[in-house]
Amino acid sequence: MSPALGIQEKAGVFLATFSGLALETLPFLLIGTLLASVMAVLLPLGTLKRLFPSRPLPSILFGLVLGAFLPVCECATIPLARRLRDEGIPESTALAFLLAAPIVNPLSIISTVVAFRGTGLPMAPLRLAAGLGTAFLMALVLEISTQWRRASPVAASLGARGLGVALPLGRSGARRAAIEAGREKRGLVQTLGLVGRTCADDFFDSSRYLILGLLVAAALRAFVGEGALKEGLATDPGALFSGSVAAYVLSLCSTADAFVARSLFFPESSLGALAFLVLGPMLDIKNTILLSGVVGVKRIGPLLAILLPLSAAVCYVFYAFWAAL
């Protein structure tokens, strides 16, 4: 098979992968934080909240489709979801947006259509359906958990100790207060300056976690290798697991992962490709570390523990439904 790599070549793979991922993701993180800062500075507190439906279910559905209007990948959606939460949008809606946006955005849809054209497999609609289904169910779990926590003293106590299923995306109350202070008196120059300063704060909050995530992802690719991942995981306990783990570890951009999914899994396992394309944009190594800097390390565990099996199950259901047609 492929020649075994020496330590120098592995270091080369590591550097190439890390540098490529950094060049691919840092601009999107900058763009995402800039959009989020513009929203924060230009829109008075409560404006966005009024645009969203007040009832939980319609609000979650609104969050699901919002990403369709943003041609950005997952690195840009984390600061935006965090900003939604800061604006008083329910956590469940912010989570629905966070998970669905990288899949429903136009770039991801187009690349999936192109990559799987001519295969006879309707991967783009399958990916959309399974992605939206997973994001919806995750948001629903969070909404129910939030309401239960409000109603139950035991659950509230668990939540206070960071053990509940919660997504406190905002930790910037003081920063928000500074933005609101003197809003009426601000001129254009002051407004632009405030956008820049808010964006810089958000960027420095997030970038260190993103870079740590990229380091881990690059190291895994260099020292484990995607071939080993494929060969080691493709047999037991199945393609769903194989696809999910490969997506989580490889940390590829959602705007181009369809091509890699096709080469990795198709035609041997369409189900593995679907699992790869649904979980990867929602959560991978780099985003887990990026998100853990936002929500706290304790809350990442429950999120992953629910998301991994849930996305696999939803993929299986939609794939089985399509196969039965």
């Binding site: 098979m1 550097l15 970038s207």
Partner: protein, 254 residues
């Protein structure tokens, strides 16, 4: 926000980091050098990121006497320069792309990828009707796809192709792959594509050496993707193998 006071070293570090990041992103796009790391279609995004970073540096420079708030931890100051230094090290080393390619075992599966984006007649279709195929520049990927799609139809055609030497232990003795790196998005998904060839001194050439090959296309049964059943793939019966310069654009971008 902290009250105004002495110059904040933390804030100054942020300005330097943002300036360096912005200038690096812009320089990589303007001066070239990103093609080994990201797909050319991402240049606009990198450019936008560089401009935003410079604007943020400007905004940060306006509050040098304010201490950084929460989130201005030391790790941020270490992580970003680390990213830049590693990126620059890679660019300076130049030849590491081959290592990256060899690391992507999935890449052999690209041979099964058929370029189905256009059904209209293209330059590649017209070339396929001739008896001589020259795989270079933008013609490489469409011709590669068409030859692999129907190896029988390409039998007997003369082919000229450049690539780097890539030996695989499961190839018969005296065979090698004249390979290119293929990138969908960024260096994290780079893989190897190429043609198996035999003849000349194929068995003795050093890995990663750039060569130009001229020969006649035949076919062979081989499991190029790895782990699957052997399938019919193109084979170059080489009549000439010459050393070649590494082309300016060595990576193939579908």
């Amino acid at each position: 926000m902290a009250a105004q006071g002495r110059l904040s070293v933390g804030r100054l570090a942020r300005v330097v980091i943002l300036l360096a990041l912005g200038l690096l992103l812009l320089a990589l796009v303007i001066l070239g050098g990103v093609d080994e790391l990201i797909h050319p279609r991402s240049r606009a995004w990198v450019m936008a990121g560089g401009l935003i970073a410079l604007l943020l540096a400007l905004a940060e420079a306006g509050r040098l006497r304010h201490a950084p708030g929460p989130g201005g931890g030391l790790s941020a100051y270490l992580a970003l320069p680390a990213a830049m230094v590693l990126g620059i090290l890679y660019l300076q080393s130049g030849g590491l792309a081959h290592g990256a390619a060899a690391g992507g075992a999935s890449a052999q599966a690209y041979q099964s990828f058929v370029d189905s984006r256009d059904r209209e007649e293209t330059r590649a279709d017209r070339a396929m009707r001739g008896d001589r195929l020259v795989l270079e520049g933008d013609d490489y990927w469409p011709l590669y796809g068409r030859v692999f799609m129907d190896p029988q139809a390409a039998r007997g055609k003369r082919i000229i192709v450049q690539g780097f030497v890539y030996h695989r232990s499961d190839l018969p003795p005296g065979h090698l792959i004249v390979a290119r790196n293929l990138m969908w998005c960024c260096a994290a998904d780079v893989g190897v594509i190429g043609f198996v060839l035999r003849g000349g001194e194929a068995g003795t050439l050093a890995d990663n050496a750039w060569i130009e090959v001229e020969g006649v296309l035949g076919t062979m049964d081989f499991d190029l993707a790895g782990g699957d059943e052997p399938t019919l793939i193109p084979l170059i019966e080489a009549s000439r193998i010459a050393p070649a310069e590494r082309p300016a654009s060595a990576t193939i971008f579908p």
